[in-house]
């Protein structure tokens, strides 16, 4: 079973590398980090900027790629499913086979400029580590969501694309807008716990807050920042955040697996 998994994984890696655009994806991060190093000189500023772009770019690219992969590989999936291969093994092979190369492209692209710019100080090492970890987690989460959408709307691509874009838009923009509205409307009530809970339900927000905490720029957020700092700044907060992110890592993937196992191809 493991052998079959590795075969599928290896094949996905080869196929993706041959398609070259994953290299392009890595190159975007490479150019980004490199440019930021040249302008900002290095250190914290670089990683804050990288994280800002990463937080928007990784979810949409991973989501759309996961979705497109399902749509483009229908016949390939069919071929694999007619082989003596377990559906679960096949699913995990494909899922990690898509997520891992994207993750590698992101990590290598972002970190490579360090090789010629240097500048990895003790302080920025943990920042770099956090940015890269969060980016990787987001890649897996959103490829998983893309798989779910692709398998769900297998025969209706327009709906698949539509809902995927809405998911991204919702998590990236609308969600925060709604939180703002709630804060604005019910500002007189003690909302802190509620807001923290709601924020933790959105993986993009969660990643954003973890970055804000790490870079110690929550002060920019005024009162909300102070509240966040009180919770997320503690070890309990960090633990809870990573627990939520892990949950986010597991849920789309398992939802995808369930749909995949029951699906008619």
């Amino acid at each position: 079973m493991m052998k079959v998994y590795w075969q599928i994984l290896r094949n996905e890696f080869q196929t993706l590398l041959r398609a070259k655009w994953v290299l392009g994806y890595g190159l975007i991060f490479l150019l980004l980090t490199d440019t930021l190093f040249r302008f900002a000189g290095g250190g914290t500023e670089v990683w804050v900027s990288v994280s800002n772009i990463m937080l928007l770019l990784i979810p949409i690219i991973s989501l759309i790629y996961g979705l497109l992969y399902i749509y483009q590989s229908r016949d390939y999936l069919e071929l694999l499913l007619t082989q003596p291969v377990n559906r679960s093994t096949l699913f995990w092979g494909l899922y990690t086979g898509i997520s891992a190369p994207l993750t590698v492209a992101f990590i290598v692209g972002s970190a490579l400029p360090l090789a010629w710019h240097g500048g990895l100080t003790e302080g920025s090492a943990s920042q770099l580590f956090l940015v890269l970890t969060l980016g990787s987690i987001l890649t897996f989460i959103f490829v998983g969501l893309g798989f779910v959408m692709g398998l769900w709307f297998y025969d209706d691509k327009i709906k698949g694309f539509g809902f995927s874009i809405i998911i991204w838009l919702f998590m990236a923009v609308i969600y925060d807008g709604l939180i703002m509205i709630i804060i604005f409307m019910f500002g007189d009530y003690p909302l802190e716990t509620g807001i923290i809970t709601v924020t933790m339900l959105n993986p993009m927000d969660l990643a954003r807050i973890l970055i804000l905490m790490e870079f110690d720029i929550s002060a920019l957020m005024g009162y909300t920042g102070a509240v966040f700092n009180q919770f997320f700044g503690t070890s309990l907060g960090t633990f809870a955040s990573f627990a939520m992110l892990s949950l986010w890592l597991v849920i789309p993937a398992y939802a995808g697996l369930r749909v995949f196992k029951k699906k008619d191809f």
Binding site: K3, V4, Q7, I8, N11, Q14, T15, R18, A19, S73, R74, D75, Y76, E78, L79, L80, L81, T82, Q83, P84, V85, N86, R87, K261, K262, D264, F265
Partner: protein, 236 residues
């Protein structure tokens, strides 16, 4: 031995298979015919585990299908439309499937030679013509020398020469005692290739028997005429 018992399948509102029951003995070459949408492809896909039936059961070589997968080791399948990862190179695809199954494709070279695929081996699949892709599909279906072979409209995209080679190959497989199942709209082709025919209409078996008996019963010379006659009869 393939045993299908009371198989039903519904896609949304559409009842594709309605309690279909069939026994196909080992070593029999059978054609599946029926109008578009009768459930031919769905039947084959259900046998392969691609489609999950709503009710009923299937037993292949004494193994009852319930999400298991190893039974597919004995089945070769050539789909209606052969489309594969576009960037992949033909020989890589064949090697990949070989690695995936962890068994040697005993007929690989033999089929490559027969179908004249040698000049295509190092090309990407996206530059292959439709017919050549079909040949790759046929190679994938037969290269592991499986006991059971499913062909879904196999010659639809093949030129006359390839089609001829393909049919020769099927004859050979038949003589080797394989169980062969072919869906086709080309009746003359089925007459050449199979001895039994299953006529499916609206998700159920309308006729199942030897072709020569069907012709006799309907006082027809050719399969086409006999099937056309069956289609005209009202459904009981």
């Amino acid at each position: 031995m393939i045993q299908i018992n009371q198989l039903t399948k519904t896609f949304g509102q559409l009842e594709v298979l309605k309690g279909l029951t069939l026994d196909i003995p080992d070593g029999q070459a059978t054609g599946i015919v029926g109008p578009n949408g009768a459930g031919k492809t769905t039947l084959i896909k259900t046998l392969l585990g691609l489609v999950k039936p709503d009710s009923g059961n299937i037993t292949i070589n004494e193994i009852r299908l319930n999400g298991n997968y190893d039974y597919r080791r004995n089945i070769g399948y050539m789909p209606q439309q052969a489309r594969y990862p576009e960037q992949m190179i033909v020989s890589d695809l064949l090697d990949f499937i070989e690695d995936l199954r962890g068994e040697e494709a005993v007929y690989k070279q033999n089929l490559i030679n027969e179908f004249n695929l040698q000049p295509e081996l190092h090309k990407q699949l996206r530059v292959l013509s439709g017919g050549n892709k079909q040949k790759v599909g046929a190679t994938l279906g037969m290269m592991f020398n499986p006991q059971i072979l499913f062909f879904d409209e196999p010659t639809a995209g093949l030129d006359p020469r390839s089609s001829f080679i393909f049919k020769e190959r099927i004859q050979k497989e038949k003589q080797a005692g394989k169980t062969v199942l072919i869906t086709s709209h080309i009746m003359s082709e089925l007459e050449q290739l199979v001895d039994h025919v299953i006529f499916i209409l609206e998700g159920d078996v309308k006729y199942y028997g030897r072709i020569d008996e069907l012709l006799k019963e309907n006082r027809q010379e050719r399969l086409e005429g006999a099937i056309a006659k069956l289609m005209e009869e009202p459904i009981q």
